[in-house]
Symmetry: C2
Subunit: 425 residues, 2 copies
């Protein structure tokens, strides 16, 4: 089995997530991918974290040079953030023919072309799925899935902190400061939230998205940025009355003559899918000339979603380096039989409208251990039979079918009952 | 520049789309990818289409064997559909070390493991992004972007015809047959729509998604399938009154002990994003253990979206074969200046409540060529000033700023006016 040696720099929130997945899912990768993803060295300047996470001292260093200079390492995961020394680390790794994975949006928005140039010259790869929208595979979708499209426009809700604050202002009529305080308390805003609430974090990400969409790099200072700090409860209220919702949108559009890129609070129609993206969720709306409108929606931050993104880059690069392919499918053996499925159900009976019917029906359902969450009997003036609608709690398909067969035989039932499935996600 | 020779089999709707893009965007690919995607041969059993599409006779054949046996062809795009002779074509191409792209969901749901086995043995690649959800890059996202996740469940609205019919039944209180008739008229249902409305098309796609999610193949006959033909307007109405919407969902879940896969009409809460996926749109909801909940939304069918999917597979395989990488970014030159942006705006003035104010404000706006789409003056009983909210049509930022500066100087204005952007997508 081919072995890929990995160096991990930075044990912050995402770094710890990546460490954990690489350690705990070693066998999962071996089986699914046929690759040994070997975490050769971990660098973290705070040595206390080595002990806390119980990392073998032989694999641990506080100096990033130990990773940059290690010729056995194939892929480096940079998760320290900030411009320095991240930039130096990435450039030096690429120059020594290591592939690099980073989640560093500030750095990329600052010097993406330079980094790409170095990667190209030294035949190394740079990947950054975790830099935008955490777990949503938006980088891969734009740069691979939609590659033949002429992208016309992108609208993104790409900063979870701002979206959380605006959502709470809409829901609770909070002032900006009340919502910010709550966001800090719940861990959805950093102690210094300036980058988020002033729109700069969104601008960093927009610069990356625009590059992938158009192949052209828009330096951050060319992006018009306005944050959410000036949004007042009065404007939220007025917007609501007009059927609108205020969101911090990152917008980029391309025509034959111009590219446009801006980040600012924006009113959008309440019925648009983007309007319902609330809390810390992210969403990206893309219009391509072939594909039409696409919407991606998911968790934009947090340890696990960001880890998922870093790991997808890692698997990509490892497969590329080792030139191996995924295992082919086994035939599924333990497929659940229809009668064993558990679901909630919607049931509609057509029954004669006379006393005792409801009691009889619910008695039979109870016998089969089916519990009811709601009953509606529809009023119908002239009809001889009335529809009775029941929603059930989770029940086994087999039991439902047996109960319905028994109920349908009752003399107060007119016609076969209707059974539909109910999912509440 | 490296050249990749392509064989295209089938000039149906998607085939013609692929032909057109390969022909018209040749330079786009050369510039963006540094590859010459050379359409060497086109096969279509109806020779009339050659003339209609003005294809060079030297590049045209009515016999697929001419493509299967051509040693110069690197990648074959199979777009004829059905099991035979598509299966034979694909197997023979893979055995002669050609990579294959297909959109053939019925075939894949029938013999995916066999096809994968052959591809593996002969070191060829098989790709099928267009087989599920047209333009949504769901295959790539599941098989690459989310690869380190343990996928827990997938819910899909993956048949546009059924979704269109159900949407119309909800919107217009149509019967199933009324909605089906309309769908046929508009070209959203085939003349024989059985595969779609009976749920089989969804089952084919679910089988493919489940394989990518779990690495296990569920043969189609093991999937419980119920179509939408029995849905009555009464049940749609009852569901609505309960705050629910009926959708044809494809569902697969995996636990440690079982895989479950089913397709059936399902009631879901009206406020869930899936409930608002209407018409011919598709949506896929995925829950992974790391990434949490993800939602993908876009056009599931049609010439252009399917072409986008086929082309992304083609570029992937071409890059893989030619071992080349995307061009690195240029610095964007023609970035639109903030003052030149055109947008709709929300403007809130705080004005003294006296006659003539509205006329003065709209006069100044008119002077700058800004046209108003709505005005609301909020009633406030005790206050000395009242908020006046205006929504504008598209206007130039510079003009808006000049108008607001002028208005803010008027003696009936109290405090700075608020300007927010408005997007209606």
């Amino acid at each position: 089995m081919k072995k890929i040696n990995i160096g991990l720099i930075g044990l912050g929130t995402v770094g710890r997530g990546v460490y954990r997945v690489l350690t705990e899912r070693k066998n999962f990768f071996r089986e699914k991918l046929g690759i040994d993803l070997n975490l050769l060295k971990v660098c973290e300047k705070n040595p206390f974290l080595r002990k806390k996470m119980n990392i073998d001292p032989k694999r641990f260093t506080t100096k990033y040079q130990d990773i940059v200079n290690d010729k056995n390492i194939n892929i480096v995961i940079e998760l320290i953030g900030g411009i320095n020394p991240a930039q130096d680390i990435i450039i030096r790794c690429l120059k020594s023919h290591k592939h690099v994975i980073t989640a560093n949006k500030a750095l990329l928005a600052n010097c993406l072309p330079e980094i790409f140039k170095v990667a190209r010259r030294y035949n190394s790869e740079i990947r950054f799925e975790a830099a935008v929208c955490g777990g949503i595979p938006i980088i891969k979708s734009l740069s691979e899935g939609l590659i033949t499209n002429r992208i016309e426009r992108i609208y993104g809700i790409i900063n979870g902190t701002s979206n959380y604050i605006l959502s709470r202002m809409h829901e609770e009529e909070y002032s900006f400061h009340q919502a910010l305080t709550e966001a800090k308390k719940k861990g959805f805003a950093e102690r210094n939230p300036a980058l988020d609430i002033k729109g700069l974090d969104s601008a960093h990400k927009l610069s990356i998205l625009a590059y992938l969409a158009f192949g052209e790099f828009i330096p951050q200072e060319k992006i018009f940025v306005e944050g959410i700090t000036q949004i007042s409860p009065l404007d939220i209220k007025c917007a609501k009355e007009l059927g609108l919702v205020i969101k911090l949108l990152a917008i980029t559009k391309k025509t034959d003559s111009y590219i446009e890129a801006r980040v600012h609070p924006t009113l959008i129609p309440r019925y648009h899918p983007m309007a319902n993206v609330s809390g810390v969720y992210n969403a990206v709306f893309i219009r391509g000339d072939l594909v039409g409108n696409l919407l991606f929606f998911g968790k934009g931050a947090g340890q696990n979603p960001a880890t998922s993104a870093v790991m997808s880059d890692l698997v990509d690069l490892a497969q590329y380096s080792a030139n191996v392919k995924m295992a082919y499918p086994k035939i599924a053996k333990r497929i659940k039989k229809k009668e064993d499925v558990f679901s909630k159900y919607y049931i509609r009976f057509n029954a004669i409208d006379k006393p005792g019917v409801l009691s009889k029906i619910s008695g039979i359902l109870a016998k089969y251990n089916i519990s009811i969450s709601s009953v509606t009997q529809k009023e119908t003036k002239r009809a001889r039979s009335v529809p009775i609608i029941m929603l059930t709690h989770l029940a086994q398909e087999k039991k439902i079918d047996m109960a319905l067969a028994e109920i349908d035989k009752c003399n107060f039932i007119r016609g076969k009952s209707v059974k539909l499935y109910l999912e509440e996600f």
